[in-house]
Amino acid sequence: MSVDVEKILRPIDTSLPPFPAKFMTLSNGQEMMVRQVNRDEIPDILPHVEKLMHVERDYYHIVAARVYAELLAYYTYRVQDEYVLIAQVDGEIVAVVNGRIVNPDIGMSYHTLAMRRGLRVGAHTFAAKMEYHIDILKQKEVLIVAESPIGFRRWMIEYKLEKRFHIPHELGGCPSWSLTKELFDRARNTLVVGRRPVPEKLLAKAHAAILPPTDPPKPPEDLLAATRSMLDNTGTSLIEMKRRLGGM
C-alpha cells in the first residue's frame, strides 16, 4: 500500500541533459568550479545551508531556509524537474544555485545562495544557472525573483530583466521577472564566464568531498546588532548602547 502511495506522491522527472562543469578565476586568484550535483550529494550540502538559516542579515535566513527545503524536496522526490549546481573552491562549497523546469520553454529559477561573500561568487554561479537553462536546456526564458536587494541589483539590474508581473513566481507568488534568450545573449560577453573542460585535478578535488565553507556569512553578535546595525561589524552602536545601559 505504502509503495503505491509513494508512486502517486513522487513526480516523474523529465530526463534533462547534464550541466557540463566549468571553472573560472576569481578576483582573489583562486579557481572556482561550478558543477551539477546529484541527489546522493544533497546530504553533504544540507548542513552547510542549515547554518545560514540563523544569519539575520541580507535575507540569508529566508534564502537558506527555502534552499534547505528545496534541496530536501529534491532529495526526497517531492519536487519535479529540479536541478542543483554548486560552486567549489579547493573542494570547499562556496555557493549553491537551483531551479526547476516548468516546461520545455520556461525555466523557474529558485535560489542563489553564496556561502562566501564578495568576489562575484554568487554572480558567477547564477550566470552558470542561466547558462544551463538557455544554452543547455535550450529554453526561451527563465522566471526569476529576488528576496534581497543584493539579488535585485545582481539579477534585475545587471541583466536588465523584463517584467512578467502577471506570472506569480513559485517563490511566494511574487511577481516574476524574466531572463529571455535575447537578454542572456546580450549579457554573455560581460557577465557569463567560465572555461571548459575542467582540469582533471580540479574535478577530482571537487568530487572527492564537499568541504564546509571556511568564511561563511556570520550572524550579528546579538539581537540588538541585528536590528540596529546589520552590517556594522564593529558593533559600534551596540557597544555604546550597552555602555549607556551600564553593561560595560
Partner: protein
Amino acid sequence: MREVYVAGIGITSFTRLEYPLVEIAAYPGLMALRDSGLKKIDQLYVANMGSGRVNAQTGLASAVVDHLSLTPAGAVTIENGPASGASAIKEGFMAIASGMHDVVMVIGAERMREVNQLEATDFVATLTHPLAEYIYGVTLPSLAGMFARLYMEKYGVTSRHLAMVAVKNHHNAMDNFYAHLHEEITLEGILDSPEASTNNPYVADPLRFYDMCPVSDGGACLILTTAEVMKKINKPMIRIAGIGQATDTHAVHERKDPTDLLAVREAARQSFEMAKVKPQDVDVAELHDAFTILEIAESEEVGFFKKGEGHIALEKGETKIGGKIPINPSGGLKAKGHPVGATGVGQAHEIVLQLRGEAKKRQMQNAKIGFTCNFGGFGNNVVCLTFIKEK
C-alpha cells in the same frame, strides 16, 4: 600659537550602517570621549558633505551636540566637499591654537548608502563645475578616468600599476577591523585571467571596478586639546605639527596641465614647512586614493617620490607596510572606504593609531611622523596634515 594635541579618537566601521546619521556621528564621539577620559568639550565641529541632500537633515552639528549631551558647547557643521574632514580638523586646530578653546571635538560623518549608488555618484558630482562640467554628465569617476589616461601617457603608468595599488590596499584592509572591504584580490584575478573583464569591468576607461573606492557610510572623531590638558589625561602626545591647505581651478580643464595637482603640492609644502619636517622624514601616510591613480599621483606631489616615479616606487614595494614609506596602511579610501565627509578624520584616526603604536598587525614600527592628504573636489581644495609623536 599654542601647540595642539590629539587627546582621543573614535571610529565606526566604514561600511553600510543601518542607523541614522546623527548616531553615525555620535558613536565615534562617545568612543573618543572614553578614549581621552574627558567629559566636556568647548566646541564641536562636524564635517559632512551631503546630509541636506542625501539624508534630508541640515544643521547636523546642532543635532549631534545635543545627541551627545554636550550642550551648551558650540557646534558648527563644516562642508568642504570630500576635504570636509581635514578642513574641520583645521578649524579645530585653530580654535585651540588661538587660545579660544581648550577642548574641541572634531567629527566626520556621512551616510551615503541611504540612496542607491547612482544617486550617490550624482550627489558627489555636484562638487564639479555646475556649468562647465556637471551639466555635461561629468562625474568623479569620469574625471579620474581622463586624469588616469593622461597620466599613463605622460609617465608610463600602466593598468598593472593601478591594479597593484588596489591589491596592496585591499591586503592592508584585511587587518583593519573597521574597513569596508575585507577581500584579498590578486593581479591574476583582476587583470590577467580570462575572467578578469567580468571580475573587474571597466567603469571609466582606463579605470576599472577595482580602481574605485566603495560608497561607504561611516564616522570618525578626534578630540583636540592643549599641552596642559594632555598632562592630566595620560595619553600619548600626538601633536598636529603642520597644516596646509590650497586650492586650484574649479573646472579641471582650466588647468595648464591637468596632471599637475598643484593644490596637493602646495598644501603638502605648507604642512611640512609648518611642521619643520621633510617628506622623506614621514614614517607613514594616508593619501586620498578615491581612485588608484590618485595614490600614485599624490605620492609624487607631496614629495615622497619624484614626479613620474611614484609607480616605480610602488613596483619596488616601497609603499607597502614595512616599505620605505608605507601608504594607506588602513586600506585607504580604496578598501577602508570613503564616507566623504568622514574621510579626512578617518585618515587622521589611522595616523594617530600608528603613532600611538596601536595599529596592531598593520603597525609601522617606531612610527614618529605621520601625514595625511585629504583631496577635495578633483584636486581643487586639498588639506594636508602632519602629525608628530612627542616623547
